[in-house]
Amino acid sequence: MTPEELSELAVAERQRLDRLAHQINVCTATACHASGSEAIKTRLTAEVRERGISGQCLIRGVGCRGLCTNGPMVSVEPQGVLYQHVTADDAPALLDSLASEPVSHIQAPTDDPFYTRQHRIVLEHAGEIDPEQITEYIAVGGYQALAKALYEMSPADVVDELTTSGLRGRGGAGFPTGLKWRTVAKALSDRKFVICNGDEGDPGAFMDRSVLESDPHRVLEGMAIAAYAVGAHEGFLYVRAEYPLAIKRLTTAIRQARQRNLLGDAILGTPFTFHVEIRLGAGAFVCGEETALIASIEGERGSPRPRPPYPAEVGLWGRPTLINNVETLANIAPIIKNGGAWFAGIGTEKSKGTKVFALTGQVKNTGLIEVPMGISLREIVFDIGGGVPEGRSFKAVQTGGPSGGCIPDELLDSSVDYESLTRLGSIMGSGGMIVMDNTSSMVEVARYFMEFSMTESCGKCIPCRVGTAEMHGILTRFCEKRATERDLALLEQLCDLTRHASLCGLGQSAPNPILSTLRYFKQEYLAALESNQPEEVGAAAEEGRS
């Protein structure tokens, strides 16, 4: 395929879709699938065939629209009608209504702040296109950025554009993407690799999964552009084995892209070659860490190694390797298409663009959201999230998962950007955001995350292996209200030690949930001290015995 053929195909596909009177999009992503969306799709397809309107009405399966709690979700385009809590039995009424008013009892508002306050770049196609058809991606302008990079830009131009954009890694650390690409591009080697990190181990987050399920070609296109920019010809997508649907859709996407010569040899009629393979993760959180991930692709146990040397210089099989997160790579195509300056116009001075969050916990609208950097936490929790459910009150919001921290009510007006969140003792992280109400004990929450870090520690270095277990033990004593003053002092020391003496990010950031809860909710720790427990407990037991 040449760039001209790509454009022609896009125009032809768009015309074909424009001729349809209705396009009915049924969400078939994980959450809606679990609520029975396949049955809805089957029923709609059968009804459309029976009514003989297949020619005017397309039924397609699409990715997540974000508001998964209200699923299964169905939308009707171009009319822009949205339905929630749909069942298969609603199918006839839904089709009857096409010519008249929408079915009121399942209609969902589209002017809700949940939708209007978002800014979708990474997720722009999620819920709009069929992720299993490459033609649908091409129709919305897919692979145009790759064509532009290959035909109009040198690899150095691509890196410059990225640098201008100010994009920072979305995998957690926020490292400037342009700088990372430049380092790999400069490394001298006849063989380099690009790796997409889709390990997503944060135990309350599913952003990357949703991107891979809803728009897999977007990530492949980003990888291909990255490979061109840094001079790599081989790539790996490291995806968790627990994500079967994402793996299936990626496999389909890679096959389709190869058939159309958008991956593989002589891409788009140029000498550029890029081959991609999928590698399955096997359920170890630490494998999200880049050096552990590399060891895992090499078929070893996923133990991190000291850096430097960084993978950009010494990576997979000792070769220069670019590792980027799924969401980072999903931002590449729009940046190349619209220019780095466009992207740099969104967000704050140091944090550009948007961020996808998995908003969950005690909040009305749980689901996947994409917001511009610089938005306040309050807007996310109360406007987009709709606040906490009736009868409860907001207590804290947790970002960054096991490496992050809890932010209390009085700091909710802080801006969501890398620096602000770090200053508050949390981190941007990969995008987990969990709202907690007055029923959650912050000490329990800290123990929950410490149990996670303890179980997931790879055991290679002692501060992390022993430190996480010790801290977990102390937190358990707090939860059981039998901790002492000494425990509190020891906990603080252990946090400091583990943070500074651990080899990789897992150990270095494992104390964060404790440090942030100690900072904002210390009274809960103090109240749990043994010396602060009412004596009656013991006295009552004595009485009972006599």
């Binding site: 994980t30 135990p203 599913f206 949703s210 096997a282 170890a284 099989w317 969950t360 969990i434």
Partner: protein
């Protein structure tokens, strides 16, 4: 260096049994040129075909890829996804990710333990049900969630979950009795 590897085919040795499922495993290893780096892919393939990684399976993969058995064992036990024990006829995977935890998934685990006498990672003595946990199933919107024999179920209450588990296990017993 692992990337060099052996030439395709030279490591092809006979499968432990003439079970057809070994062909799937062979195909995976062949596709990777029997390189030691294919270890994790090969283990995925064995587990998917046979349900778990038993000793003959580990030995076969070790011999085929020219990797010491100790290393194969080390890798297989490092990753949580791999299981060295066979699972029960039915499986229940309770999500213990943050969103589900906040929405009381520990209560689900306690209910199962009280009713069936199995904790995380255990199987009932009659081999009918295994209990497992996972961190975030990606359906946090439906928290607390669990996967029953591959199907995701959301917004679970302990009583409802127990009822569904009895249905699963009970249905199987009826079929067996017939």
């Amino acid at each position: 260096m692992p990337s060099v590897g052996t030439k395709a085919g030279t490591n092809a040795i006979a499968a432990p049994t003439d079970d057809k499922r070994w062909r799937v495993v062979d195909a995976t290893m062949r596709r990777h040129g029997y390189r030691p780096a294919a270890l994790i892919e090969a283990l995925h393939s064995v587990q998917e075909s046979f349900g778990c990684l038993d000793e003959p399976g580990l030995q076969y993969v070790a011999a085929s890829l020219g990797v010491p058995l100790s290393r194969v064992f080390g890798v297989a036990t490092f990753y949580h996804y791999f299981s060295l024990k066979p699972q029960g006829d039915h499986t229940c995977v309770v999500c213990t990710g943050t969103a589900c935890y906040i929405k009381e998934s520990p209560a689900l685990l306690r209910a199962i333990e009280a009713e069936f006498g199995i904790a995380n990672g255990e199987t009932t003595p009659d081999g009918s049900l295994s209990l497992l946990t996972a961190r975030c199933l990606g359906t946090c919107g439906l928290a607390p969630a669990a996967v029953l024999d591959g199907d995701v179920a959301g917004r679970l209450q302990p009583a409802e979950l127990l009822e569904r588990l009895h249905q699963l296990v009970g249905a199987a017993k009826e079929v067996a009795a017939r």
